[in-house]
Symmetry: C2
Subunit: 139 residues, 2 copies
């Protein structure tokens, strides 16, 4: 097999009033923040067909998190037993890809306003996918 | 801001009887294949706490797909109107991250048997996350 390129190319950025990682809620539905997904011009035509009200999964790159953590106390609570990061939604993990299920609130030129989303301002976006009924599989 | 490292580190590989991309079903629930998720030894402790029956989201890197495609006819059918890749689940997209919702069928040493999953044998795994009720947000 030829060598695989494992480098993500960011497609845009989150523009949010949420700027402080410590203030970010643990899950999007605990806060209810709105944010703009600002797509790079070179990929904006990939938004064709997205409508207000659509349910999307936004994939982000949680670039401030620690990638060498393999076990955590869930939700940062030391009373919770030590758990493998793959059994938790901890943002500290080998590949800190964030999944955010959102609704489209407004559509602009090359950008989407969505909610709820707890990612902080400046978070890179790496993909956007529609929710498929009860099925989030690929292909 | 310091420079961001956008390189994924694969954490393991899919071991499946499905070896032919052309034979892969479009969605996991259309085929029902089982596969082993074989984790690299260095990250295996990240599986602590995963149990048979757990619902997981497996993130893969669809390394055979085209990254310069921005619009497609959904499901490869020319009768479907041209649509932006971010409004579809096409594996051809700038960052070909696959999302696969699966159940854990069996647990081995540093590996999990899961179903249904349509990713072909040899597909790199980049993350595993638990399904949180009706919520797939991060943090």
């Amino acid at each position: 097999m030829s060598e695989i390129n494992f480098t993500l190319e960011p497609i845009g950025v989150i523009r949010s009033k949420l700027v402080d990682l410590a203030a970010a809620p643990k899950q999007g539905d605990e806060g209810g923040y709105q944010a703009w997904l600002e797509l790079d011009a070179r990929v904006a035509q990939g938004l064709l067909g997205i409508k207000v009200g659509d349910e999307l999964i936004v994939l982000t790159w949680l670039h401030r998190e620690q990638r060498d953590v393999l076990q955590v106390h869930p939700r940062g609570n030391p009373n919770n037993p030590l758990t493998g990061v793959f059994a938790t939604r901890s943002p500290d993990r080998p590949n800190p890809i964030g999944l955010h299920r959102v609704s489209v609130v407004e559509i602009g030129d090359g950008r989407l306003k969505v909610a709820p989303i707890e990612a902080i301002d400046g978070t890179p976006i790496v993909d956007i996918k529609p929710v498929l009924a009860d099925n989030i599989n690929e292909r």
